[in-house]
């Protein structure tokens, strides 16, 4: 009869506050566990988000505790940790679940310390088995997967996109959570939005990445053109990040971002082991490389042996026509 507690991460854009996409995914995972423990799914929403109960109820959440006190928005690590631990103290959940985003990883780990709970971060699946939470967790950037049986009442963060949300509608009760924010020891000074609106790599369904095979930074447009045509996020190999062609935030790989989109298109990327580590769990991989022996073809589902400067514009045109 143990409940599952989820932290519903809140974002802000021009339209106001909203629940992050990964919230539906963790609600779905939490529902499965709660069905097995016979408990409820309880969500903590750290702000007054419109229709939070309706939106979360659709994915199987039974109760929503929303915080409306001052000092919680924008995101505050210690305030949010206090809200989660306070609610956890009231309901003694069998599991506290976060999405493995920047905020979810940081906050999840912090909360685990406050609760003295076991932690598993960035897992790709979880289940309730023999009275414990068991997770599958990528290691070595996805070169291996560990099955871990966690100690009692763990904190877990679930990788975005690892699991498809499933609807399980119910009328979620909305209750305010009375909590007072501690004095902020971390204060947000400013937020600088990127010049162009980009899709976050770790949450993208489709990614187009470029490597040194593009030849020089002036040629990068052909990567962006294909990304735009596909509605994709764009990434890069470390070689081009190190060369200063692209920002660090776009690096895919063992020392960059680990991504698992539905479709990954690698353009002029050799497929070094560190790059493969970050993207080989993509559902479908398309590789374009002029060298038929390039290691990227070992993980690719579809391979095009050719010059990126010819193939990419061709693929972009065909994509526009195909998706029109």
């Amino acid at each position: 009869m143990s409940d599952v507690l989820i932290y519903a991460e809140v974002g802000r854009d021009d339209g106001g506050l909203f629940l992050k996409k990964a919230t539906a995914e963790i609600a779905t995972a939490a529902r499965t566990v709660a069905d097995a423990t016979g408990g409820r799914v309880v969500a903590l929403v750290p702000a007054d988000v419109e229709q939070a109960a309706e939106k979360l109820g659709r994915y199987g959440v039974d109760a929503v505790h929303a915080v409306s006190a001052d000092g919680f928005m924008p995101y505050q690590l210690e305030a949010h940790a206090l809200a989660v631990t306070q609610l956890a103290g009231e309901i003694s959940p069998a599991l506290v679940l976060f999405a493995a985003t920047v905020v979810g990883k940081e906050l999840g780990a912090y909360v685990s310390g406050r609760l003295g709970a076991p932690i598993a971060a960035d897992v790709v699946s979880l289940e309730w088995a023999d009275g414990a939470v068991r997770v599958s967790k990528p290691m070595y950037a996805g070169k291996a997967f560990a099955t871990v049986r966690l100690g009692e009442r763990p904190v877990v963060s679930l990788r975005p996109n690892a699991l498809a949300p499933v609807e399980s509608p119910r009328d979620a009760v909305l209750e305010p959570l009375a909590v007072t924010a501690p004095a902020a020891r971390v204060r947000l000074r400013e937020r600088q939005a990127a010049a162009e609106k980009t899709i976050e790599l770790t949450e993208a369904d489709t990614i187009v990445s470029g490597g040194r095979g593009l030849g020089d930074p002036e040629k990068w447009d052909i990567v962006l053109d294909l990304a735009h045509a596909l509605g994709a996020a764009h990434g890069a190999s470390r070689a081009v990040v190190d060369a200063g062609w692209r920002p660090h935030s776009e690096q895919v790989g063992q020392t960059g971002k680990t991504v698992s989109p539905k479709l990954y298109v690698a353009c002029g990327i050799s497929g070094a082991i560190q790059h493969l580590a970050g993207m080989s769990s993509s559902k479908v991989i398309v590789a374009i490389n002029k060298d038929p022996e390039a290691p990227i073809f070992k993980v690719a589902d579809y391979g095009i042996v050719g010059d990126v400067h010819e193939v990419l514009p061709m693929l972009t045109e065909a994509t526009k026509a195909f998706l029109a």
């Binding site: 939005a193 479709l263 391979g303």
Partner: protein, 249 residues
């Protein structure tokens, strides 16, 4: 500035992972070890901050096997002043590691703890923020820029396409993302000096938390590659396959 940097000995990033005979860990035969890449960035940043402040001390700390002395010496050769080695047999998870570090820090004073954003073996990104909670300190993970202004840390981090700039009270725990610093290579002089720098060794005390690794597996093998001709017809064929066979478009 008194800075403590947490470093971890991990397998080299070009390691081809094979599963060991126990079925729960990797086969370490012939494997090379390095300081985790983000930890190198943290060490570099700490040395730079100390240099800018004109005074202070950089202490590197690891929880690891006896062999991890090598990575500590590397950090000393880069320019850290002192090292602390909390020895442990086998591996610890993030909860146990943070607990061992917390215990090992008892009685030490510092203005800042820097660690890597994640160790490139377990990829948890958890030790830093968890340790911050144990020490009851403020924390920002994934720092890609850091300066000290009027006794406070000013930290930038990327969060889903937005750069957030935070002002953080010290002492604090920060974790290093790419961009924070470019790690230097130790100089020959640095390597010679490192041999004489203090390195304290003590047995780690790690709390139990009841988690057990039941199995370690390689990812499922991928199917053979289908070759597509670099022609307009080939592109149409590819797009059709992505939509109809793979259902990803």
């Amino acid at each position: 500035m008194e800075i403590i940097v947490l470093i971890k000995r991990v397998v080299a990033t070009d390691t081809r992972v094979k599963i060991g005979a126990d079925g729960t860990s990797i086969d370490t035969a012939g494997v090379q070890y390095i300081m985790a890449p983000y930890d190198e960035i943290a060490v570099e940043k700490a040395i730079q901050l100390k240099t800018e402040a004109g005074e202070g001390k950089v202490t590197v700390l690891t929880v690891g096997p006896n062999e991890a002395t090598k990575e500590l010496r590397t950090a000393l050769a880069m320019g850290a002043d002192e090292a602390v080695h909390l020895t442990v047999d086998g591996t610890l998870d993030a909860a146990a590691t943070a607990g061992a570090i917390h215990a090992g820090l008892e009685g030490r004073s510092f203005d800042l703890i820097l660690c890597g954003k994640q160790a490139t073996d377990v990829d948890d990104a958890a030790v830093g923020p968890r340790l911050a909670a144990l020490l009851d300190l403020p924390s920002v993970a994934f720092a890609s820029a850091l300066t000290i202004e009027d006794g406070k840390a000013v930290v930038s981090r990327e969060n889903e396409g937005v750069t957030e700039v935070y002002e953080v009270d010290l002492p604090a725990v920060l974790t290093a993302q790419k961009g924070l610093a470019e790690p230097r290579y130790p100089s020959l002089k640095g390597i010679m000096k490192a041999k004489k720098k203090p390195l304290a060794t003590d047995a780690a005390t790690a709390p139990e938390n009841g988690s057990t690794v039941e199995a370690l597996n390689l990812p499922p093998a991928r199917a053979d590659v289908v070759t597509i001709e670099p022609t307009p017809e080939g592109m149409q064929q590819l797009l059709a396959a992505l939509r109809n066979d793979k259902k990803v478009l």
